[in-house]
């Protein structure tokens, strides 16, 4: 299945794009997708441990199993206010 992945804040500079579309296996977890994205965009690897992982509009942990309609976002710590 194909998953849309969006980047925010300086992750856009690190990847050079705001979003991408990745072909993944059925049943892939959010953590596995994150690994795959870091392989494709190695500059994200340094920020791996502080990366926030979102499915649609909710934070999820690495074990979350993705489905076809999900849109994933990866971004650095937030700084509102």
């Amino acid at each position: 299945m194909k998953i849309t992945v969006r980047f925010w804040s300086y992750f856009v500079d690190l990847t050079g794009c705001k979003q991408t579309c990745i072909e993944v296996d059925q049943g892939i977890t959010l953590g596995q997708l994150h690994e795959q994205v870091c392989e494709q965009f190695p500059k994200l690897t340094a920020a791996k441990n502080s990366t926030l992982k979102v499915v649609d509009v909710d934070y999820q942990n690495s074990n979350f199993v993705l489905s076809d309609s999900n849109e994933v976002s990866f971004f650095p710590p937030v700084q509102g206010g």
Partner: protein, 130 residues
Amino acid sequence: MKTELTISPQRINEIALSEHQAISEKTGAVVTFSGIVRGQEGESQISAINYESFDKMVEHQFKLIFSEISKHWPIESIRLVHRIGTIKVNEVSLWVEIIASHRKEAFAACQYLINEMKNRVPIWKTPIKR
């Protein structure tokens, strides 16, 4: 609990917002908070901050926080305005108003709201140097 949420690049007009304060017979406390862009960020002098937001998620996360507040404290009303885009030094980036019967819950809810916002609401800053 009434809530009002505005995420917008428009300048925040605190005076106009105050004029629409919706108090009731039970209101005893109104706490407001304004977050203002400082002239210094870390070591460097700045002229402005650019705020970027993931709007759809910002709205959802604020609603989750509002609903947590309504479960924890008897609050009458929350209004929150977060400005995005380029905000100059001395201008307001965030305005919050909490209305309640008693001050303790108003202060507690206001601080909870801002702390949780800083943990979870997807807004990012880029300082613009002088």
